[in-house]
């Protein structure tokens, strides 16, 4: 086992897969020079310009061309430089990639990975901080993952590349260099689908993913010192969603906090609440609480505003205390 940062884990995962299978290639803006977050650093030398393809500045074409290549036998990994810039590719992702299998009754399929850095807390302001998972996790035919640990980033990027269907691979950019943990040496996969209980607890459950997962773990640690036992579930795959793990934990503690960084209203956490309110209702001991970003354009730049926006360990701890006391 070696320590790896998130960005290293993504890079290693792609590099190992590309070494083993020359159908795999990356395309996107500035990928040849390594990419703005250095995810493809060294790839040009290792794999050459045909497998590390610098595209024009046109996101719809990045995804659209990747779809075409996937239909003709390649395994594209499309990089969208920031999740905030994926919107022009929405039509290609929703109308095309996610529906090719369905609309051809399985005759075609679209094995495509779209990687993109999302999330805030890095002074990225309105257009370098967005959460996009609620939009995409709503789309049948697409898979959406939001890992939080280097081990999962590496294991899930490999699963995503091997997946016969399109996968939106969301990388929280604040984790890239701030989280560095052990990653197995062998060639492993982390399956897309299962959630994982990161911390067992008895009194209350926190559901989170991405950066918020880490904030939740910090909060749970704080609360442990106060005699409150919080279970923390890592929703690392939003679509497919692991209802079983969610419901088991909800039933176990009966008190639920759903944390997400996106704007509150219509965020993906609403789905978690709704599932629990329908399927674990009898087990609930308290209202299902959501803690999320306020309903303002995500997210302003000046540090006081950004800090105001971001849910964090402190706010999570406060919400947990209130829930525990309910």
């Amino acid at each position: 086992m070696a320590e790896r940062s998130v960005i290293e884990a993504v890079r290693d995962g792609m590099s190992e897969m590309m070494t083993a299978d020359d159908r795999i290639f990356v395309l996107g803006e500035d990928v040849q020079e390594g990419g703005v977050f250095r995810a493809t650093e060294g790839f040009l030398d290792k794999f050459g310009p045909q497998r590390v393809l610098d595209t024009p500045l046109a996101e719809a074409s990045i995804v659209g061309v990747a779809i075409g290549a996937a239909l003709n036998g390649l395994r594209p990994i499309a990089e969208i430089q920031f999740a905030d810039f994926i919107h022009p590719a929405m039509d290609q992702i929703l109308s095309e990639a996610s529906r090719l299998r369905y609309r051809s009754v399985g005759d075609w399929n679209c094995p495509l990975v779209i990687r993109t850095p999302w999330g805030g807390g890095i002074h990225g302001a309105l257009y370098h901080s967005q959460s996009i998972e609620s939009i995409y996790a709503h789309i049948p035919g697409l898979k959406v993952v939001t890992p939080a640990f280097p081990e999962d980033f590496k294991g899930m990027i490999k699963s995503a590349i091997e997946d016969p269907d399109p996968v939106l691979f969301l990388e929280h950019k604040k984790l890239y260099r701030s989280i560095k943990t052990e990653v197995p040496d062998e060639d492993y996969r982390t399956p897309i689908g299962p959630a994982v209980v990161r911390r067992e607890g008895e009194d209350v459950t926190v559901f989170a993913y991405g950066l918020m997962l880490h904030e939740s773990l910090t909060a749970a640690e704080t609360l442990a010192g106060e005699g409150i036992s919080a279970e923390v579930v890592d929703l690392r795959s939003l679509r497919p969603l692991d209802k079983e793990t969610i419901l088991n934990s909800a039933k176990k503690t009966g008190k639920i906090l759903v944390v997400y960084e996106d704007n509150l209203t219509g965020g993906f956490g609403a789905e978690i609440s709704a599932i629990i309110a329908q399927e674990a209702f009898e087990y609930l001991d308290a209202p299902i609480v959501r803690l999320a970003g306020p309903d303002i354009p995500t997210m302003p730049y000046a540090p006081p505003l950004e800090h105001f926006y971001m849910p964090d360990a402190e706010k999570i701890s406060a919400a947990l205390r209130e829930l525990a006391a309910y």
């Binding site: 290639f25 045909q50 595209t55 024009p56 046109a58 719809a60 074409s61 995804v63 659209g64 061309v65 990747a66 779809i67 075409g68 290549a69 996937a70 239909l71 003709n72 036998g73 390649l74 594209p76 022009p88 039509d91 290609q92 109308s95 095309e96 529906r99 090719l100 299998r101 369905y102 609309r103 051809s104 009754v105 399985g106 005759d107 075609w108 399929n109 049948p140 035919g141 898979k143 997946d163 016969p164 269907d165 689908g193 497919p240 969603l241 692991d242 209802k243 079983e244």
Partner: protein, 344 residues
């Protein structure tokens, strides 16, 4: 309005033996495909009016453009990315009347979508016919992707993507041509310019006179042709395909034509175009024109034509009867094929 393009040096003078590589037999075969295309589509409208289909969108009038262009491609080797009007393209590439009717009538057995998509949303993997959707223009971006894969594997396959002139207004058109041009990909961008996007005349789509003029922004060749001239279309397409195979792609081809039917079964075209205009174009009907050409060049007799018509009519009748006898998909099958295996 339509100036024939001069680019391919060969001309079509000189009689049957030199239809630019098209032997008499092949020409008659293409004529037969055009006829099949026409009759299938006419029948679609009838079926729709009879309440047997909810919707029909067809391309009567485009037959020369469609059949002539697809005839220059190699089925199963080259790739086609058709749009909704392309009955003639798909027939030429090997789809059968039966298959087309199965999909038109939303039958489970339909190869394109088994009743999931609207009619004439083509797909057949075996034939390298890429599945299409309804949003205009999205398919244009798939072409450079498909061609990129062919190029990477050093295959000599050509990718032809079809669309109307309205589609050239989309961002996808620009991004698709730009990408293909930068990488000199073997893509033929084939525009069936019928002068209208639903009700909008092409002056509302572009300030250039011809779609072919748009090629200049990408440093590629744009070729305009009489889209109702089967041989001219074939000639230009064959040239473009050769160019692509030789690494001198992409090309933008524009076939000037006209749809002699409303936009779809929901449309009333009298709202936006005159009956006189329609009548003018009816005179240029590509089926009649091809027939006249074949007869003039002794490639066809009236009797043979009669026989072909009968045969095609029978083919279409059989296809419709067969399709009508097949079941629609079972309700619960709606849940299938969202992912490779079902996930929760």
């Amino acid at each position: 309005m339509v100036k024939a393009n001069e680019r391919p040096a060969r001309t079509r003078k000189g009689g049957v033996a030199s239809h630019l590589g098209l032997e008499n037999e092949r020409l008659v075969e293409l004529y037969r495909t055009m006829l099949a295309s026409r009759l299938i589509q006419d029948r679609m409208f009838v079926l729709q009016r009879q309440g047997r289909a909810a919707f029909a969108i067809t391309g009567q009038g485009h037959e020369a453009a469609q059949v002539g262009s697809a005839a220059a491609l190699r089925p199963g080797t080259d790739w086609v990315i058709p749009y909704y009007r392309d009955v003639g393209v798909c027939l030429t590439m090997g789809m059968t009347a039966r298959e087309i009717m199965l999909d038109f009538l939303a039958r489970a057995e339909g190869p394109c979508s088994g009743g999931r998509q609207m009619p004439t949303h083509w797909s057949k993997r075996e034939l390298n016919i890429v599945s299409g959707s309804s949003p205009v223009g999205t398919q244009i971006l798939h072409a450079p992707g498909v061609a990129w894969a062919s190029k990477v594997r050093k295959e000599k396959a050509v990718t032809a993507v079809y669309f109307g002139e309205g589609a050239t207004s989309t961002g996808e058109f620009h991004e698709g041509l730009n990408f293909a041009a930068i990488h000199k990909l073997p893509v033929i961008f084939f525009c069936e310019n019928n002068g209208y996007a639903i009700s909008e005349a092409s002056e509302k789509q572009m300030a250039v006179k011809h779609v072919a003029d748009r090629a200049k922004g990408y440093n590629i060749e744009g070729i305009m042709m009489d889209g109702n001239d089967l041989i001219a279309v074939y000639q230009n397409m064959a040239w473009a395909a050769e160019e692509c195979r030789g690494g001198r792609g992409p090309k933008l081809l524009e076939a000037k034509t006209y749809r002699i039917v409303p936009h779809s079964s929901d449309d009333d075209d009298r709202r936006y175009r005159s009956r006189e205009e329609l009548a003018e174009w009816m005179k240029k009907d590509p089926i009649d024109r091809t027939k006249r050409y074949l007869i003039e060049h002794d490639a066809l007799t009236e009797e043979q034509d009669e026989a072909i018509r009968k045969e095609v009519e029978e083919l279409v009748r059989e296809a419709v009867d067969y399709a009508l006898g097949q079941p629609m998909p079972e309700p619960e099958t709606a849940l299938e094929h969202v992912y490779a295996e079902e996930v929760s």
